[in-house]
Symmetry: C2
DNA sequence: GTCTATACATAGATAGAC
DNA sequence: GTCTATCTATGTATAGAC
């Protein structure tokens, strides 16, 4: 599956996501016309993601947001009750959207090798489409309150789990060889994460998301299918 | 080289680092007794790193810092002229200290394979010793002004360069096979970075820095010494 | 050298006109 | 629904006593 095919198919629209948020919070949002509300929410969220990418959520003042989104302070507060609520809106609904898409696309393939390739590609394609979101999830997680922080950690572990489950499967089928499945999954995830954390670097070097994916796949494969024992890792 | 051997040998003391800063900025620091100044600078820097780790540098107010470090607001401002100066003090002198140590230890080994193993280990050991610093460098880079941001990017590329130079060398000697040397170096760095960005995860799982290092080395080796062609990556 | 007290700017948040 | 004007808390930074 190429990136282009994927992006045509998923249509992760911020609009859908904001509509979900709106419908779940009708009571606390003062705006009653759904279309107006959703339209402005999209602006608010998009602007927040961009400003946070530049200076961080905490450094972004609501006056910055007001200026950039061309909505007054008063208008902003019709859509959320506090800056913290804006933060958790993005984190919570964003991660939910990501999980939904991952669950839908990941898991395809009829053997562990194909499944792994697919999982890596899908993850990377999605993080490319939603770069600002993924960056935000990671960089702003520490500002969340206890409840949302817990959800955020769970989300991190869930995506790791997708990888480790496939590896586990491959080990059982004697296709993969590896000592510590969870550690392997963790570092594969780390490589994937670099794609959206260091966007500036890869953009500058004109690395395409497809070739990046292929590189990670090659690395994962050569490690997991390496017949030589990794016995030194076993010392513990 | 084990982590214990390394940590005994390097002695990255925050004190040395603060003394350097003090001596370079004698004019602008109002405190004239070096020992008093250095002692308080150590407290200030350490406390800043800890608070920033918890809530981010931007969210940390100088009142927080004053409370935690048990120095009054007035006292704090005897050591720096603005919050921004505190930020760049940590970034600039911290990264300089890191580079100095890396230059000293990396490059040992009499063939590319040994050199690569050594470079990965030293990087990880150092990032373990200076976890708060490395975390700070990455998370707070966006708050720097233009001048220091440039230095920060250079520092990132420099450490990447250490890895790619070794790989390049190995390719020339036909020990390694890889299409895109720079991309390989970049993702190896990404795996190393995860060690200090996700400390909570690895601590919880009781992964030692040595076994983490061994895992990254195994992955890098199996990829770089894999004879199978990575032709698919070559499409560009 | 260190403190307390305070100036001044800006932050988040809200009231009430339109 | 959106705006402007304004409240109050908190932030960075400094002056001046000890």
């Amino acid at each position: 599956m190429t990136f282009q095919e994927f992006s045509k198919e998923v249509m992760v629209s911020v609009e859908v996501l904001c509509r979900d948020y709106y419908r779940e919070n009708r009571e606390s949002i003062r705006i009653k016309k759904e279309d107006v509300a959703v339209k402005n929410l999209v602006t608010i969220v998009t602007t927040t993601l961009n400003l946070s990418y530049k200076k961080g959520f905490d450094a972004m003042s609501l006056r910055d947001l007001s200026r950039e989104s061309k909505l007054s302070m008063g208008a902003l507060y019709s859509y959320f009750n506090s800056k913290e609520e804006l933060l958790s809106l993005i984190q919570y609904h964003g991660q939910a959207a990501v999980e939904k898409i991952l669950r839908e696309y990941v898991g395809r393939g009829n053997n562990p090798l194909k499944k792994l390739q697919n999982a890596i590609r899908i993850h990377l394609y999605l993080s490319e489409l939603m770069q600002r979101w993924f960056y935000f999830f990671f960089m702003e997680a520490k500002n969340l309150n206890k409840k949302y922080k817990k959800l955020s950690v769970e989300s991190e572990l869930m995506t790791e789990r997708i990888i480790t489950d496939i590896i586990e499967d491959g080990v059982t089928q004697k296709i993969f060889t590896v000592d510590d499945v969870r550690l392997a999954g963790s570092v594969i995830k780390a490589m994937m994460q670099d794609w959206y954390l260091k966007q500036w670097k890869y953009r500058e070097r004109k690395v395409s998301v497809e070739s990046y994916a292929q590189c990670i796949i090659d690395i994962a494969e050569s490690y997991l299918t390496n017949k030589r024992s990794h016995s030194r890792t076993n010392k513990k």
